[in-house]
Symmetry: C2
Subunit: 332 residues, 2 copies
């Protein structure tokens, strides 16, 4: 990483010097048995769960090194791909009462790991990320959880004044494929933020000191702090990234079949793909190469085992799986 220099010496009379604490936060993702999984921590003090996080320590040269250090120490996972997501710096972030507003700066990361180890601590668990975002999984068609959500969103729209109402309606139409718009799996963050604004996720009520009235689980399991928002960011980012960068392979074993690859992509994207076209794409793009081996039958005709063709990284600027959802699940 680049050797960094000091930021420009502040030329402005410093009002109150902000000397906030800095946290690192990671959405650690893997994919097993057709589910995208994320590592969460159960907090022993209380009932909540959240993403693993740790402090930035002085001995780490860069943020990313610091992140890898404590993740590997705490969860005994070796991180593969790591990408910075966003830095959140809200004051008043540590809500809850009349405590002096303390700025908590959090640098959030997305990390991919190839295999889900049992997780170092007993409090760390791998969970399908759809547990937190049930409306994001369209692999078996439109998820039924959407009905109560759209319903409640509709009431939120109606509650607003003229101009704002139209705006809300259109944001919802776009994000939730309510009108003519098609489902766009990349808009995970937009959807979560809409639900938060509309007060339809538990975090929104919590941050206001309320309790969310029940919705039969349609709104998903909440996470501590803004961790669910970070996870939504991670999901959206990853879903976008697989289209132009071969990041899926960070989640695959050394050798795999094309169907396994497709199932992993589908798990992440939350949509089904057209099998024949998916293969055509993968082959045409030169993303994989033969291992020469054949898979131990997966239920039908045995499949070739392929591996990721690393050279593609050096050949083309944007190798990825610009996937288009197949209308019907698994045609052909």
């Amino acid at each position: 990483m680049v050797r960094m220099q000091t930021p420009t010496p502040a030329p402005v009379p410093r009002g109150r010097a902000a000397s906030p604490s800095i946290g690192l936060n990671a959405a650690i993702v893997t994919a097993t048995t057709e589910e995208p999984r994320v590592l969460t921590i159960r907090f022993d003090h209380g009932d909540g769960e959240g993403l693993p996080s740790g402090p930035l320590e002085a001995e780490h040269r860069t943020l990313e090194i610091g992140l890898r250090a404590w993740v590997e120490r705490q969860t005994s996972q070796t991180l593969g791909y790591v990408e910075q997501l966003y830095t959140f710096g809200d004051r008043d972030r540590m809500a809850g009462g009349d405590a002096e507003p303390v700025r908590a700066l959090t640098v959030a990361y997305l990390a991919l790991v190839r295999e889900a180890r049992p997780a170092g601590s007993a409090d760390a668990v791998w969970q399908s990320w759809y547990r937190f975002f049930p409306w994001e999984d369209w692999r078996e068609g439109r998820p039924p959880q959407l009905d109560p959500i759209i319903d409640r969103l509709g009431r939120w729209v109606a509650a607003a004044a003229e101009a704002e109402r139209r705006l809300r309606a259109e944001r919802i139409a776009l994000a939730f494929a309510a009108g003519t718009a098609e489902w766009n799996e990349e808009l995970a963050l937009e959807r979560y933020e809409l639900l938060y604004e509309a007060g339809l996720v538990a975090e929104a009520a919590r941050d206001l000191g309320h309790i969310l009235s029940g919705d039969g689980g349609a709104s998903g399991v909440p996470l501590a702090f803004d961790h669910r928002r970070i996870l939504a960011t991670a999901i959206g980012r990853l879903r976008g990234k697989i289209k132009y960068r071969p990041v899926v392979f960070e989640l695959m074993p050394p050798a795999f079949t094309l169907l396994q690859l497709q199932r992993t992509v589908e798990a992440l994207a939350g949509v089904r793909l057209h099998k024949q076209n998916f293969r055509r794409l993968v082959e045409q793009q030169g993303l994989v190469e033969e291992t020469g081996e054949i898979s131990a039958a997966t239920g039908g005709r045995p499949a070739r085992l392929v591996r990721f063709r690393r050279e593609v990284l050096l050949e083309r600027p944007a190798p990825g799986l610009r996937l288009r959802a197949g209308r019907r699940a698994g045609t052909g």
Copy 2:
């Protein structure tokens, strides 16, 4: 993402709790008379220049609000679009001597403004960003500055051992369109990082305490600290973004002709586009609508004046100008 190596990784065994200073940093971009411009500050103490930056202050609720606040105060610019780029947090960033390594955290932003005001302070100047990246401007064809660069990069490749050599050669081929690869304007950061690693930009030498031997200006004007790297990040991000988000319009006046729009996109992307196809794209995507007015002749037949069609934001998830460079400049 490719990262540069720290020249001096001094592992200092230090205690705990990093309580670093936090800086905000902005690449403020506009586009006038067919040039993409960025606001830089001339430092009175010394000869360098850099990006505007300021401290995060306690009274700002979010990072972005803090950023807007001091930018608007210091430069009297009103920021339109603002996007977080990256958070840099290297320790040892305060180079130069045996000073105690202090962590300086910097959150870098990209900001777009519609018109370049004379800039609040006399030390603030709008400059074409190609002054800092002469090799990035392909609008008049392959820039001649590339020749000495490729030449020097070639020597850097030759200087490496076998395995590393191949790697370098392929990174260069991809980033600089040296082999079969086509020029990819989005790879601005990758190119800058290669040049930094190869010691071909002044910052690399400076960070090592050397002086860069002359290259006739091919390597562009340096900036203080890592500001040129931040600018490269901003350029790459913006060039990518215009393809799927209508951000160019943040730089356009309320009414404009299609050619003006095209010239702005070309200025940002650093490549020429096929005029007729560009228009087809813009119209098909519904990005603009008629104002009914006609431009005061721009040299030939008068052109319709159009405006950005805001509704497109609500209709489609990824409205942008997925531009393809035209082989020849301005055909038709």
